[in-house]
């Protein structure tokens, strides 16, 4: 046991006390911080889109409305209103940062307000020529869109109301296209109301129902609902599990490959048995992973506290995170060790890692369906299939409708059994593979080793 601990301590110190580890640890939150602050600022300072929109309007009623609906003032007002709707469900601290009027948040999120010039075309304009105008790249204002209003778009015909056709050149920003859609909708509705001699202001006030903050009621408490939290929380836990497992797993792979390629492995084997080496390496890198996990969990908790959202999740999830982390770490870590023991260098390791990485990534492919339908047959089945059961079950547990406890503990029991099985196989391959040089073994050979050893 003493030798196992010595190997574990060396693994831990050799990994943790390096610039690469410290930088790697800081990288994820740094990217997050940059994403949260710098990107919106860059978007807000993005180059303002300016250009012409051609309108063929046989009704003669939509063009004017469209010029008004796509004016900078109206676009700003629409964006501010939409952002305010989103902010209603955000925590108070987020609203304070974003600004309660929504205007500042809209500028951050959506960038500069575009400046459109509406160019009216004759009702009988040649559409072939007009479409060619879109791709005419002569100097001058950009040609952003061609809109052809249907003749029955304002006054209903026998088949009801008509719509419009929208033509755009390649590479038009999706936000510009979105603004055009919204402006067109507003303009056509406005034209129809006028055609019916109705009062626009009265209709607007009739159809307007302000969105309010919902309140989440629990058995013991009630609290403000935070939009998106229930969807993001499972993902956050799965990311934590992934980071934890990959931090130690990747280090296990590289340290084993390094020990083998530098031929230090046999010197180690003169002092410790292969099993002591395997156990020591696994424990040492487990400590590394736990350190990384604790750092990120601590950071996440600090963020929740600072945004007054700490009470929104069940702290027991952290206990289950630890349990599922240990299961996932030992299964994936043992696989990584196995790969590291049978290859000669990292290049060979990368090709052998492909199937393991695919296994690890599987739950990410189904993150959305599992989060949305955590108790579907599909979600239930794959939460019992190792090694993806750990990721899947954690996604389900962090969702808004957690699975029954018996499923959780069955998944844990299956996970523990898989740890025993994988460690047993890994130990056998590890013992032989460590002293193997030359062509790495194929899967069939490794199975033969497991049977023979």
């Amino acid at each position: 046991m003493k030798k196992i601990l010595l190997v574990a301590v060396r693994e831990f110190t050799a990994t943790v006390f390096t610039r690469a580890f410290v930088l790697g640890l800081m990288l994820t939150p740094a990217i997050g911080a940059i994403g949260a602050t710098l990107v919106p600022r860059m978007m807000a300072r993005s180059v303002q889109v300016q250009g012409q929109i051609a309108v063929v309007d046989p009704t003669g009623a939509v063009g004017g409305e469209l010029a008004d609906a796509l004016s900078s003032a109206r676009i700003t007002a629409r964006r501010t209103d939409q952002t305010r709707q989103v902010l209603i469900q955000a925590p108070e601290s987020v609203r304070q940062v974003a600004g309660n009027d929504g205007g500042r948040a809209a500028r951050f999120a959506l960038g500069s307000v575009p400046e459109f010039t509406i160019v009216q075309r004759p009702p009988d304009a040649d559409l072939k020529l007009e479409r060619a105008w879109l791709t005419d790249e002569q100097a001058g204002p950009r040609h952003l869109a061609l809109i052809v209003i249907h003749a029955n778009a304002v006054r209903a015909g026998a088949d009801g109301y008509g719509e419009y056709d929208l033509f755009v050149p390649p590479n038009v920003d999706d936000r510009v296209e979105g603004e055009i859609y919204q402006g067109l909708r507003e303009a056509i509705i406005g034209a129809r109301i006028k055609a019916q001699a109705l009062d626009r202001a009265a209709i607007d006030s009739l159809v307007r129902v302000a969105r309010v903050k919902s309140v989440t009621v629990t058995k013991n408490d009630q609290r403000q609902t935070v939009a998106g939290f229930n969807m993001l929380l499972p993902g956050a836990f799965a990311v934590l599990l992934f980071i934890g497992v990959m931090t130690g797993g990747q280090a296990l792979l590289t340290s084993t490959v390094e020990e083998k390629s530098s031929r230090v492995i046999e010197i180690l084997l003169s002092a410790v048995s292969p099993m002591e080496l395997l156990a020591g390496k696994l424990l040492g890198q487990m400590a590394v992973s736990l350190l990384a996990l604790a750092f990120y969990v601590g950071l996440g908790m600090a963020l929740l506290v600072s945004f007054a959202m700490f009470g929104l999740f069940n702290p027991w999830l952290l206990v289950y995170l630890l349990i599922f982390f240990l299961i996932a770490y030992f299964v994936i870590g043992a696989m990584m060790l196995t790969v590291g023991s049978v290859v000669n260098d990292m290049r060979e390791a990368q090709s052998m890692m492909m199937p393991i990485m695919l296994l690890i990534m599987t739950p990410w492919l189904f993150w959305l369906p599992i989060s949305r339908e955590p108790n579907s047959t599909f979600s239930t089945i794959i939460s019992f299939v190792p090694p993806v059961n750990t990721f899947t079950m954690l996604l389900r547990m962090a969702s808004n409708t957690p699975p029954p406890w018996w499923q959780v503990w069955t998944s844990i029991a299956i996970g523990i059994a898989s740890v025993v099985a994988v460690l047993w196989c890994a130990a056998k391959v590890f013992r032989i593979g460590l002293l193997m040089y030359g062509k790495p073994p194929d899967f069939a050979t490794m199975i033969r080793w497991i049977r023979a050893a």
């Binding site: 030798k3 010595l6 190997v7 060396r10 050799a14 390094e258 020990e259 530098s262 031929r263 230090v264 046999e266 010197i267 180690l268 084997l269 003169s270 002092a271 410790v272 048995s273 292969p274 032989i432 002293l435 193997m436 040089y437 030359g438 062509k439 073994p441 050979t445 080793w449």
Partner: protein, 326 residues
């Protein structure tokens, strides 16, 4: 007292290759055993089985009285053929790590490391990274790691491969010192002169089988006790009086003199004064047969010259890392 190493009927097969074939071996405590043979003879596989790094398919073994070296690892020093260091680790830290794994207490380690490094001429290298050392210096560090816990049994697999003559000499002196301390030494080599210089007992392996297991002195006596190397005082002297002596069976020319083969049964001690009186001698000595020649003679049984040359080439080939076929 039990033998330091005891092997009985040990066999190891990798796929279709029988690397070690029913090997019996007894290494007494305090001996210096040379384990010789060309690459692929089964030396490293045998040593790895002794170290319980791999396990035999058949047969039994005992190391320092234990059925497995795992139970006596702290009393064994091992320098493997394929050896290296943690490149980024400092020399002191590397030795500390291996010393702790070998059971040296934390308090004793700094002193032992310092003294050990000074002993191998690397007193100023404790704080250097291993990658900053030359290959020869790294080998000295590895050797130090194998002996600093003062093992009862020191197993060295091709310890001199890749070393320059000066470093090889330093290592030979250290091996000698370890033997003087009381350690049993077992080392493998395919370089026969090293075995001749260090060993008091030789085990020869060829294609997994033991072909010779005798004290060095016995081997020399047994394989050519009748050859005398003779250099006349006068380089131009007539050597025909030597061939005329009744004790002499044959005289053959050699560089700077001749090699004399005595008649079977002749005592060299009585023949040498008669040779010297027949032709004044500048130098006269019993010609010691080289292990390489003995090995080749045993393996080929005196067969075709082509086989002899192939074997000689194998013995002279470098000890390159090789795969373990499975």
């Amino acid at each position: 007292m039990s033998a330091a190493v005891l092997l009985s009927g040990v066999t190891k097969t990798f796929g279709a290759t029988r690397a070690v074939d029913h090997l019996d071996l007894v290494v007494p405590r305090g001996a210096v055993y040379g384990f010789i043979g060309p690459n692929g003879a089964g030396k490293t596989t045998t040593i790895r089985m002794m170290m319980s790094i791999i396990f035999p398919d058949a047969g039994t073994l005992s190391v320092l009285g234990h059925a497995s070296a795992l139970d006596a690892k702290d009393r064994i020093g091992y320098l493997p053929e394929e050896r290296g260091v943690y490149r980024k680790m400092r020399v002191g830290a590397f030795l500390t790590y291996l010393g702790r794994l070998k059971g040296i207490s934390e308090g004793e380690l700094p002193g032992r490391i310092r003294r050990g490094l000074e002993r191998v001429g690397l007193g100023d290298c404790e704080g250097k990274r291993c990658e900053e050392l030359s290959k020869g210096m790294q080998q000295k560090v590895q050797f130090l790691a194998a002996i600093m816990h003062e093992p009862d049994l020191l197993i060295l697999d091709e310890p001199f491969s890749g070393l320059d003559p000066v470093s090889a000499r330093t290592l030979r002196l250290l091996v000698h010192e370890e033997h003087q301390r009381g350690a049993t030494i077992l080392f493998s080599t395919h370089v026969m002169p090293h075995a001749e210089e260090l060993c008091d007992h030789v085990v020869m392996m060829h294609r997994g089988k033991k072909v010779l297991d005798d004290p060095l002195s016995t081997i020399r006596r047994q394989y050519d006790p009748r050859a005398i190397r003779f250099e006349p005082l006068d380089r131009d002297a007539d050597l025909s009086p030597l061939a005329a002596l009744p004790e002499v069976e044959r005289v053959s020319q050699a560089d700077g003199g001749c090699e004399i083969l005595l008649v079977n049964g002749t005592n060299p001690a009585s023949a040498i004064p008669r040779l010297a009186s027949a032709v004044p001698a500048g130098r006269i000595e019993i010609a010691r047969p080289r292990l390489e020649d003995i090995f080749i003679r045993i393996v080929t049984g005196g067969s075709a010259a082509a086989d002899t040359e192939v074997l000689r080439a194998q013995l002279h080939a470098g000890a390159e890392p090789k795969a373990v076929p499975v």
